[in-house]
Amino acid sequence: MEHLEIRDIQKSFGSNRVLDGVNFSTEKGEFVSLLGPSGSGKSTLFRMIGGISSPSSGDVLLEGNSIKNHPGSVSYTPQTPSLMPWRSILDNVLLGQEISGKKDEEMAAQMLERAGLSGFEQAYPHELSGGMKQRVSFIRSILSPQPLILLDEPFSALDEFTRTDMQKWLLSMWSEHQRSILFVTHNIEEAIFLSDRVIVLSQRPAKVIKEFEIPFERPRKEEILLSEEFLYMKKDIYQEMRSSHASANY
């Protein structure tokens, strides 16, 4: 069953055409990555799925219902960790639940512990490293009641090793909690390693150029990053992006 459906979304800011008929859909429980160059409108698309920005035309459907201009239907993790500096870590991860009604502190404390953050429940965000903040931000999303999670380049500010650790951690959380995830990145390797499907967007004005099914079986190990199949996949996607880049007039 189609979980999220993006129908022919167009968006312009004045004369700046950002999205030019974006179409795709995701299934329940699926991990889908949106891969696109910087400035192609990925964050803009997320804001429209989140219902806080309205498309010039087109529609966004979640389980068959339009969620255009209807915030609160998805859980969103912004591009920066965006924790509230005046809230303790525990209160920060509870924010999503607080907004929608019921708090479950025990569950929150448990998840923090599983993320290696035990002892930091009462700390403030400024006492945490960048990677820790990202984990907190993601736990906040998972604890929110919405079935679809949007992640906007959550790991782009981390170093290579931390990033790989975080990716593995994210996959384990995802398989455990059975949510649908829509993940934005401009890192090809990251998209392949994490996703069931990778959707490639063109340069601005953005369109879907191609979708790639990622066949690697789960749970995925770090070793597949170096396998031949993986590198072929990466090359395919790279060429696809490269050709779209060349055809844009810059």
Partner: protein
């Protein structure tokens, strides 16, 4: 406490040096008392005359406290209503600035004519000088709410009320305190000015009596007390700020290690 001493010794040293230079100049040039008394004389009088003027000090402190609480409440209420109702902001913001262009010295006698010699005109004067820095600082704090957090709140389906109490208000607290600190010092000046209008006691009254009887030394006692009170109020607000805002990074750390913009 040690930190306070570490931070405080430099200004203290400067002030002490200033007093020493002042003292030396007075005796060297043989300046008469009624023109400019020496610091030692002023401090001496401050101690010996305490029983004569202490009730003035207490009366002023009381007035400042009442006026400051009312003035800052007005400032906070004005800021919140202008922020939540865009129409009010557009129509009232210029008026807000206009209110600061009326010289208090001119307005004060009028207030006495309208409201008599009671406490009301005095509170109005203090409120007028107090509310403005608070309203402006708080409005600025609201305006600068973090954009990513705002997006998060909206996408999570937060109501306007939730956005205000969970995001905008706590975000603006540091700005509120900058406004409160300015107003705290203004409120002492405001109280003294309002006492000049006509009051039975207060530092302002003590000062008027002193200057009309050419007791320059007492005028200086009054000035020193006003300065000390202002400083005390300022420190009090600073302490309150420290108690309220516990989440800010210490000086060594920076608070946003990995923030980047899209």
């Amino acid at each position: 406490m040690r930190k306070w001493i570490e931070l405080g010794w430099r200004p203290l040293l400067v002030i002490t040096l200033l007093f020493i230079v002042w003292e030396v100049c007075i005796s060297f040039f043989d300046v008469p008392d009624w023109l400019l008394p020496a610091p030692s004389q002023i401090f001496g009088l401050m101690i010996s005359d305490w029983t004569n003027y202490s009730h003035h000090v207490f009366s002023t402190v009381e007035l400042v406290l009442i006026g400051f609480v009312i003035g800052s409440s007005v400032g906070v209420i004005v800021a919140i209503s202008l922020h939540l109702v865009p129409f009010l902001k557009q129509s009232m913001y210029p008026l807000l600035i206009l209110s600061q262009n009326i010289p208090v010295i001119v307005l004060a006698p009028l207030l006495v004519i309208w409201f008599g010699f009671g406490i009301l005109p005095k509170i109005i004067v203090i409120t007028l000088v107090c509310f403005f820095p608070i309203a402006i600082a708080l409005l600025d704090g609201f305006r600068r709410t973090d954009r990513d957090l705002m997006h998060y709140m909206k996408m999570a389906g937060a109501t306007k009320k939730q956005i205000f109490w969970k995001l905008e208000w706590p975000h603006a607290l540091p700005s509120l305190f900058s406004g409160l600190k300015i107003s705290a010092t203004y409120s002492v000046m405001g109280a003294v000015i309002s006492e000049w209008l006509g009051a039975s006691e207060g530092i302002g009254v003590y000062m008027t009596l002193a200057s009309s009887s050419f007791r320059t030394d007492r005028v200086f006692v009054a000035i020193f007390i006003i300065v000390a009170l202002s400083l005390l109020f300022f420190l009090l607000i600073m302490w309150l700020e420290k108690m309220t805002i516990r989440w800010q990074a210490s000086e060594e750390g920076d608070s946003h290690g990995t923030s980047r913009n899209s």
